[in-house]
Amino acid sequence: MKRIYVDEKWCLGCHLCEYNCAFANSGKDNMAKALKNVKINPRIQIEEKDGISFAVSCRHCEEPLCVKGCITGALSVVDGVIQIDREKCVGCYTCVLSCPYGAIMPSDDGVVQKCELCLKNSHGKPACVEGCPNRAIIYEEKE
């Protein structure tokens, strides 16, 4: 299955992925409109320190602890993609407790949010990957 892979060797710490993510999931058609005066809460987040940086987003694990631990059944695996049903989620954060990558996080409206590979938004394919200027984030099939 196609997954997102992050190679910190090429990450520039430019944070474009975060903005592209926030825009793709904003439901708006123009980035300036979507993000002007907005503190973004993207589903992919950069860690950086001492010249090293890398983006972290859901790894879509094959044995997803978040899905197995979800108390409501809001998280599920659909064709290898871990998706969240925002209607079912009650914001208990058991998934936050479970995710070893810290890649699932509270959204601005109480329930949790996570990378769904932009399959559910109008972008249709991972916006972070498309917008990465240095191929530090790639979306591909390995092995």
Partner: protein, 501 residues
């Protein structure tokens, strides 16, 4: 001092309606042009630092940025232009030589743009490269004067070593030091995939790149940096650098600050020391000395590698080339005055040397007149900007071309001509780790491959239009060119007729 104040040449224009304050521009600008002002709660710019490299413009996700040339002006004067005045202020302030990089940007004639290419109509057919074979393979090297036969009457292979190019384009010498590791890796991998060659320049060959040796030309320059026996035998050919189009007559200077661990090892000089290539080779003060070096290198490489001698296009280039051809070189590379550099004194870059088009035409003609054109191959460089330039160069008489600037452009260079500062925002002309990282060779090499593949397609199209299906038949085929807007003298030197003739 107030007198030294120069109004910034470029201004950053930020569309406040579009700026979302993501600060990508700030993070990406090594010149520290952009910053976030907390009091104003917006991004601000320090225009004086801007070199107009467009990194910020290219990465701004909302397209909120553009760079404009300032309309601030000195009092208009057709003679004393703003640049003259500013440069005098700078030199009066510092007492220093002005430095620049990349090729001569001045408004001299560009002869490529004054030549037009022929095409077939009616009397002979054009050839469709999509339907018929169209060959752009070239072998560089000395051709035998006489076919020899063995006792059975079969032809003996008496060819000296040749360089096989699947496309008539090579990457010209750019040292590791002047450009980054990732730029070198991109060039090496592209050369391998394209079936052509890249050139180490005078910086030696990094140990990681020996594996691309069969697609590498190793250079021996006046500083002899990184030259040893394994190095000479690592490549497919050896190039003696006598001169460079951007700075004929002078050497090179890599500041110690760029000589980090890797470069120090590759160049075989102490870390942090300046790498200074002398103006001449101190063992070559005349043509017979060059001949000795050519044969020393051939000895060292067991006569298995062709030797290239690279010279800058200067006034007497035809006679020099003739001497080199007779001096045992297999290939002569000529670098025109538009050729790029990582750093050169501005005055030299802008005022020394001659156009490659004229140099090529006179060298090719001279060697033919002496009957020695086939003893050597001719490779030209110094601002080959498109496939059309290549077709014209080959029709004038070149066997192949070297591209440097075009290759760097493919890698992202925006010709801001600030290489000498070592802060290249595109990760090319820099050794700063955070900046080098910006050039991912996976992307870079592919872009080079794309560019040359595209150019090769275009060359084939143009050749097909002329009814030529192999590049040998284009070489020196000056009837395929016509001049436009050229004087009799220029036409004579170029050896072409005027359009309409």
């Amino acid at each position: 001092m107030a007198i030294d104040f120069l109004y910034p040449e470029y201004e950053v224009v930020r569309d406040k309606d579009k700026c979302i304050g993501c600060r990508v521009c700030e993070r990406q600008c090594s010149n520290e042009v952009h910053s976030y002002d907390e009091d104003l709660d917006c991004m601000v710019s320090e225009n004086a630092n801007c070199v107009c490299c467009h990194r910020c413009v290219a990465l701004c996700p909302t397209r909120a940025l553009k760079i404009v040339k300032t309309n601030h002006t000195f009092k208009e004067n057709a003679n004393w232009k703003g640049e003259h005045i500013s440069e005098i202020y700078r030199q009066a302030g510092t007492g220093g030589v002005l430095l620049s990089s990349m090729g001569n940007p001045k408004d001299y004639p560009i002869y490529w743009d004054k030549m037009l290419i022929n095409a077939s109509q009616v009397t002979n057919p054009s050839i469709d490269p999509l339907r018929e074979p169209m060959e752009t393979r070239v072998f560089l090297g000395s051709k035998p004067e006489k076919v020899e036969f063995n006792s059975k009457g079969e032809i003996k292979n008496n060819l000296t070593p040749q360089l096989k190019l699947d496309i008539p384009i090579m990457f010209s010498a750019m040292s590791y030091g002047s450009i980054s590791y990732n730029a070198h890796e991109s060039l090496a991998r592209a050369a391998e995939e394209l079936g052509t060659y890249y050139n180490t320049g005078e910086g030696g060959l990094h140990k990681d790149f020996y594996k691309y040796g069969s697609h590498t030309i190793v250079q021996v320059a006046s500083g002899r940096f990184g030259v040893h026996k394994d190095y000479l035998n690592a490549g497919a050919a050896i190039e003696i650098k006598m001169g460079q189009g951007a700075k004929p007559g002078i050497g090179g200077h890599l500041p110690g600050i760029k000589v980090g661990d890797d470069i120090s090892k590759t160049r075989m000089i102490p870390e942090g020391s300046d790498a200074i290539s002398p103006a001449p080779h101190h063992d070559i003060y005349s043509i017979e000395d060059l001949r000795q070096l050519v044969y020393s290198l051939k000895e060292a490489s067991d006569y298995k590698k062709p030797v290239i001698v690279k010279i800058a296009a200067v006034h007497n280039v035809a006679a020099i080339a003739s001497g080199i051809a007779r001096g045992g070189a297999d290939i002569i590379a000529i670098d025109g005055y538009r050729g790029g550099t990582g750093a050169a004194p501005t005055r030299i870059r802008d005022n020394v040397g001659i156009p490659i088009e004229l140099a090529l035409a006179s060298v090719d003609q001279r060697l033919r007149e002496e009957g020695i054109r086939n003893k050597v191959s001719i490779v030209v460089g110094g601002s080959i900007r498109s496939s059309a330039d290549i077709v014209k160069a080959i029709a004038l008489g070149a066997d192949a071309v070297y591209i440097g600037t075009s290759a760097l452009l493919a890698l992202g260079c925006h010709l801001c001509r600030s290489c000498q500062q070592g802060k290249c925002n595109w990760g090319i002309a820099t050794q700063r780790e955070d900046l080098v990282r910006r050039l991912n060779p996976d992307i870079g090499y592919k872009r080079l491959v794309n560019l040359l593949t595209a150019w090769n397609h275009e060359i084939k199209e143009i050749m097909g239009g002329m009814g030529i299906n192999s590049i040998e038949s284009l070489r020196g085929n000056r009837l395929m060119l016509r001049g436009i807007g050229l004087t009799e003298k220029e036409l004579l030197i170029l050896g072409i007729k005027h359009a309409g003739e």
